[in-house]
Amino acid sequence: MNGGAAKIWALHLGVLAALLAAQLVLPAYHAGNLARIMVLAVYAMGFNIAFGYTGLLSLGHALFFGAGLYGMGMPVALAGWGAGAGLVAGIAAGGGLALAVGLLALRRAGVSFMIVTLMFAQAGYLTILYYTPYTRGEEGIVIDRAARVLMGLDLSQDATRYCAALALFAAALLVNLALVRSPFGRVMVAMRENEERSRMLGYDPFRVKLAALVLSGLYAGASGAAYGLLFGYVGAGFASIQYSILPLLYVLLGGAGTVLGPFLGAALMFYLIDLSSGVTTAHLLVVGAALLVLVLFAPKGILGTLRDRGLKWLP
């Protein structure tokens, strides 16, 4: 068992070390992409806590991601808050909305949870458009360079931005790892595997799922707030249905219920879109084809398949 723990830490710390070294090696364009991927991977990790581990398929996570963006962006742009306070507000907005949605949507299981979360996310998106005088709607809010300074670090600088993205990603990854290896992580998986059995072991399904959804919302909020701060833009598009589907694709591609799967999926999908859109305008067709191949040949995603094929210790 200790051998397994050593392998797990070596793998995850190794990935973080490789990402730290990557910025020294990679050309600026790819380093910029990687910073974006790491922030999006935090969002996908949050999605994975709900979907991959607890079995909650939400189609409305863009609500929590958007809450992070606007929860940070509006106080910073309209009320002149600092970046640190904005970040905290964004995280709190993501977690708070997840709590509110969970209290209502988790009363129902299965398909209705999907539909209710989808509806809430659409309502959130339309609310942003409705209050265009404050949110600037489709056009979005540009966060001033001057406001993007956190603890004396200018987040609009490429190297600083990369390090900030990596710091957030590392914290999210390690918390995720600790969570899924904790007793509560085991209960989340138990809920996914057999809810009735878990109830008869003394676990309240509603509370376990609500806790997982709030954690998931906190991750999405943190990712959204960081995205706005690092890349200087907050727009309604981030709260649209597309951003509810993206983390699902990342997680399915990388491997649902694996700690590194969301990052791997986000990176592959990002570059798949990036490369194919350089070749053809029909880049979504390429994405669709890739997903078909995935569903047919590796329905558990890349890391899920590797875990089945011998890497049993993969968390």
């Binding site: 007793p183 998986v189 138990a190 059995r197 008869m200 072991l201 003394g202 309240d204």
Partner: protein, 236 residues
């Protein structure tokens, strides 16, 4: 000295439409006994047990566990209060390891040393050597043992076993009987069972249900001699 009463159910009722699955049942369990619940198919055994463990909501009547009214307590809270239920159809987590399965039961009661107590709980049902296997890869008999082990690992005051020996070979039934005997008197065991040899061998007292009502309660000897029971089983 009279045995202490662990569980008291009064006038328990559950109708499904026109069907009176459980119809005004009074039911007592003494602390530390093995109590068997028998009756023809459709007599209401599983519904009665469902009412006791909270899987089926009570329509009327009351249930007290060690003096505390638990009638309205949800199922998961009743588990915490000390009622464990093992499923009629094996309900383990097949895609998790045997150790994870048992650990879920052990951590539910707030164990201090999770790893050691989980292994001890597996050892009790003779599965410690299979801790790292996926539970779904266990043989059927071992899966039933794991299910029983999870129930025991909760250290409940009342352990409810719903047809635990169904599908087991004779040697496995002997091992199972030894485990149940070992569980009392710390725990009280309520057993739904069709295998009359097991019932007569294990039970201190037997309650016979028929058409949602209690037909008779007594020792195995009394039940065997009861004319009404014979009529219900043999058709009279």
């Amino acid at each position: 000295m009279a045995a202490l009463t662990l569980l008291e159910a009064r006038s328990l009722t559950r109708h499904f439409g026109g069907l009176r699955a459980v119809d005004g049942v009074d039911f007592d369990l003494a602390q530390g006994e093995i109590h068997a619940l028998i009756g023809p198919n459709g007599a209401g055994k599983t519904t009665l047990v469902g009412l006791l463990c909270g899987r089926v909501p009570v329509q009327s009547g009351s249930i007290r566990l060690a003096g505390r009214d638990i009638t309205r307590l949800p199922a998961h809270a009743r588990v915490r209060a000390g009622i464990a239920y093992t499923f009629q159809i094996t309900a383990i987590y097949p895609r998790l390891t045997v150790l994870d399965n048992i650990a879920l039961a052990v951590q539910s009661r707030g164990a201090k040393n999770l790893a050691a107590e989980s292994l001890a709980a597996l050892d009790r049902v003779g599965l410690a050597g299979r801790a790292a296997m996926l539970a779904g890869d266990l043989s059927y008999g071992h899966q039933r043992l794991l299910e029983l082990g999870m129930g025991l690992a909760l250290r409940p005051r009342l352990l409810i076993l719903d047809e635990p020996t169904q599908g087991l070979a004779n040697a496995e039934i002997e091992a199972f009987k030894a485990l149940v005997r070992g569980a009392v008197p710390d725990m009280t065991v309520l057993l739904i069972e069709h295998n009359m040899d097991v019932v007569m061998d294990l039970a201190d007292r037997i309650t016979v249900l028929n058409f949602g009502r209690v037909l008779a309660t007594g020792t195995p000897g009394e039940i065997r001699a009861n004319a009404a029971v014979q009529a219900a089983y043999l058709g009279g």
